[in-house]
């Protein structure tokens, strides 16, 4: 027995077409749309987080290289500070799809002034966090600047509802994580860049600095 008798004259007369659209087609359309928006937001937020972390690690690697071969492996404080500053700036300007649950707004310059935005220790629960480190184990004279970052994507629709259901609370956010690694150049910076061993690009020749 076909419960709805879809396609029969009786069905068409009985308003089952309306029932079909109201109960099957329209909700299916809305659910698919909600999932598409959620997944899209997660993808966009993840790309933005990756970009921010890449900027941070490369800034760290560059600062580390600037310290010179004599200080290699010793002067990491400046590199870390620069990496965090860059991450912070990137959070303020780039991260738009992930919003902290409370506190700073990543879309404003205040995010960069807030010391809680990016500090060692990973996500802070209410903001965008990054744990950036410089490894002490050099490989072929290069050292790694590693950044682990996390961001929270709030107010997801269907995935948020599923998350809230699974966690047993009202939390409709999902935390995403990403990592970036940049390599410092070794002592022979010029040849290293030309060989493409470190993360810094070859300088573009546009004339001498003023």
């Amino acid at each position: 027995m076909t419960p709805l008798h879809v396609g029969t004259r009786r069905c068409l007369r009985g308003g089952s077409m309306f029932f079909f659209f109201a109960v099957v087609a329209l909700p299916m359309l809305l659910l698919a749309g909600a999932v598409a928006i959620d997944i899209g937001r997660l993808i966009v937020a993840h790309r933005q987080l990756e970009t921010s972390l890449s900027a941070a690690t490369l800034a760290g690697a560059w600062t580390f290289d600037q310290s010179g071969a004599a200080n290699r492996g010793l002067d990491t404080a400046d590199a870390l500070a620069n990496a965090y500053a860059t991450y912070c700036q990137s959070v303020a300007d780039v991260m738009t799809a992930a919003t902290p649950a409370e506190g700073v707004s990543p879309g404003s310059a205040a995010a960069c002034a807030d010391p809680n935005v990016a500090r060692p220790g990973g996500i802070r629960g209410d903001s965008l966090g990054a744990d950036i480190s410089i490894s002490n184990t050099a490989v072929d004279g290069q050292q790694q600047v590693v950044a682990d970052g996390a961001a929270r994507v709030n107010d997801l629709i269907l995935l948020g509802f599923a998350r809230a259901l699974l966690s047993g609370g009202g939390d409709t956010s999902i935390t995403i994580r990403a990592q970036s690694v940049a390599y410092t150049c070794n002592a022979d910076t010029t040849s290293d860049q030309q060989d493409g061993h470190c993360s810094r690009p070859l300088p573009v020749d546009v004339g001498d600095p003023a």
């Binding site: 879809v6 396609g7 790309r47 900027a55 800034a59 560059w62 860059t86 700036q89 799809a97 546009v206």
Partner: protein
């Protein structure tokens, strides 16, 4: 073998031969086939809609991802050169033209300064670091790229504008994509 017809009234002599197809069964099968065809016809537009919408969303996200990559690559090149617009050369536009022409999803677009005005252009705005300086906002190159993604699915542009959350506009079958990237200046010119 003969069996009493299920609808036969008690006491009547009506019997049916189960080995022989009945006109009633044949008609029922035809009605069922018709119903299945109609169901398929009803579902088909929705399936087609989902399929096209999925392709549209994937295409738009590919463009977003490609734009983010290109923005970051251009910002890095500018940072390594000491600024996005130095020594009178339009470095950013040159780098962008090269990168865009080799990037899947953007390869057929042209590069122009300012906001993107159509789906065939990638617009760029240098927000900071036109010439790198040691301090202040110009110690980073900040570059924002924009382009428009057209969709086949009606109204999908408006839905996609909800995704990035940075005020991207969308209307009807068009979504304006913005991608921003930052790179720390590596050559100081001021």
């Amino acid at each position: 073998m003969t069996l009493p017809h299920p609808t036969a009234q008690p006491g009547t002599a009506r019997t049916v031969n189960r080995m022989r197809p009945l006109a009633h069964d044949s008609r029922h099968r035809r009605v069922r086939r018709g119903a299945e065809f109609l169901e398929a016809a009803l579902i088909f537009p929705f399936m087609l809609f989902f399929l096209i919408a999925t392709v549209d969303v994937a295409s738009a996200l590919l463009q977003y991802s490609a734009l983010q990559d290109v923005a970051y690559a251009a910002a890095r090149s500018a940072a390594a050169a000491g600024g996005a617009d130095v020594s009178g050369s339009n470095l950013t536009e040159t780098v962008l033209r090269n990168d865009v022409s080799h990037t899947p999803g953007l390869a057929n677009k042209t590069v122009a300064a300012g906001e993107s005005s159509s789906a065939s252009t990638v617009g760029y705005i240098i927000k900071s670091g036109a010439v790198c300086s040691d301090s202040g906002a110009n110690n980073h190159v900040t570059l924002t790229l924009s382009t428009k993604a057209t969709t086949i699915t009606p109204y999908l542009g408006s839905v996609l504008s909800l995704i990035s959350g940075n005020g991207d506009s969308g209307s009807g079958d068009e979504w304006t994509i913005n991608a921003t990237a930052i790179a720390r200046c590596e050559v100081i010119r001021q």
